[in-house]
């Protein structure tokens, strides 16, 4: 156990050091990313004002809060892409990591976790500026803050698992862009990224319960921005934990099969 802790610490330190070399690139990326939620925010605030100040339970201020927190959660959701899996198999990077006495997925989780630390630091001033401009309504309780902190890291793990599963498809075929695009489209709609899920028709909201998407995106935002009851908050954390467990088990099983195939065909 201790050696895993040591490994994570060392890897995270390395990735923090590496990412601190590229503050400008990281910022450009983050700024390009806020265009999306700002547009959503503006549109829905306009709708809300049109309808007398509120729509779907959200005021313009609440929308502002939702979409500003969105930017942090979106960043926490960025993990090794399934396209990256195809790349690293092809370039032989996967072989190199297979030679080490540690499961390559630990490398992914640890490296991106370190990166996230840098991202969070860079995000704070950005969030401050956005708050000045858009005046969000945000009064979280201490419990909400604590739940949020855990929720965003669990969201990160959930998305790591789901995108790893997706990425492992490339062990069998490389003609996968169609699959990936469809996946991302479904995720966009069912996760709470496009709109808060409460604005979706009922049947969509019910559908969203069956997928991990909302637990990696909508739930952390709602935990901080909304007014969920304590039991709802804790149930939410529990659901996240359940999805992580399910993800870890699935990934381990598929990985075994994938590696057997990889070792048969070579890379």
């Amino acid at each position: 156990m201790k050696r895993y802790f040591d490994y994570y610490r060392a890897t995270m330190k390395l990735s923090v050091l590496e990412q601190l070399q590229y503050p400008v690139a990281n910022y450009f990326y983050m700024i390009g990313m806020i265009a999306e939620p700002v547009i959503y925010m503006v549109v829905w605030s306009a709708v809300a004002r049109q309808q007398g100040g509120m729509v779907g339970g959200y005021t313009p201020g609440a929308f502002a809060a939702y979409y500003i927190v969105w930017t942090l959660v979106r960043n926490m959701n960025i993990v090794f892409t399934p396209y990256g899996w195809e790349w690293r198999i092809r370039e032989g990077q996967l072989s190199m990591s297979l030679l080490r006495p540690i499961h390559p997925l630990h490398g992914d989780v640890a490296y991106f976790a370190g990166w996230k630390v840098v991202v969070i630091l860079l995000w704070l001033p950005l969030a401050f500026v956005l708050s000045l401009i858009f005046k969000p309504e945000l009064n979280p309780t201490l419990l909400q803050g604590v739940v949020f902190f855990f929720a965003i890291w669990m969201a990160y793990l959930i998305r790591t698992m789901t995108l790893s599963l997706l990425g492992m498809v490339t062990f069998w075929t490389t003609r996968v862009s169609a699959l990936f695009e469809l996946y991302f489209a479904a995720e966009l709609i069912l996760s709470g990224r496009l709109v808060p899920l409460s604005l979706m028709p009922d049947w969509v909201q019910k559908l969203a319960w069956f997928f991990p998407f909302r637990w990696a995106f909508g739930f952390p935002i709602e935990a901080l921005v909304g007014n969920m009851s304590t039991s709802d908050l804790l149930t939410g954390l529990g659901m996240q934990l359940a999805w992580i467990l399910f993800g870890v088990i699935s990934v381990s099983l598929i990985w075994k099969v994938a590696i057997r195939r990889f070792s048969a065909v070579g890379g």
């Binding site: 450009f28 990313m33 049109q50 779907g56």
Partner: protein, 261 residues
Amino acid sequence: MHGLRLAFNYLRIGVLNEFQYRANFYIQILQTFIALATGLIGLNLVFSQTDQLGGWSKPELLAVMGVFITMGGVIRSAIQPNMERLMEEIREGKLDFALTKPADAQLLVSVREFRFWQLVDVLTGMVVMGVALAQMNWVITAWSVAGFFTAIVMGAVMIYCFWLVITTTAFWFVRVHEIANLFEGLYAAGRWPIDIYPNWLRIGLTFLVPVAFAVTVPAEALTGRLTFQSWLGAFALTIFLFIMARSIWKIGLKSYSGASA
């Protein structure tokens, strides 16, 4: 007109090249389909809560989306590929051909690449526009048709100039290719007419990034909102941007070849 003929030849080769990759056609269809579906879902969500937005009705916003998709197709088929290739060549110092061919360098670098399959978007956008116009009980007037086509051309030229200016700064700043990400995000703002954006954002969008001009003005033409003033304003801006872009390009090219400014 030797330069034009040369440019046309580049174009022809580019298109023939694209035909080799038929798989790209299917991928493009899928991407267009997904983008359209997502857009329609977004539009319907908004209109499940209200019946007009910023003075625009649902079919009118559908027309905006059609223009958005079409313009996006034009950008991704003709403008962006050339600019991205130019960025790479500036970064790697491979622009010598531009200085040695007997044709205008700006023309050459602007037409070499053409992603044929992105035209699917242009087509899809026009279909969406058609559906929207039918729902609006559209009345054909010469002004709206002429206004629309000229606005589209002006919009494309404006976006081209914007891209060219950004790309030309690659002569001085190295990490310009992240701009491509930025543009994608900013262009998405064109999905909605600029009327719904707060004033300060509107100014940023129209003058800093002529996105709104490229999408809103043609849409205004289609929906009968286009005033002569707006059209004139767009025209003036187009001319201004074109001159500015060409000047900056010339300066950049000079600095690349080591000549004094």
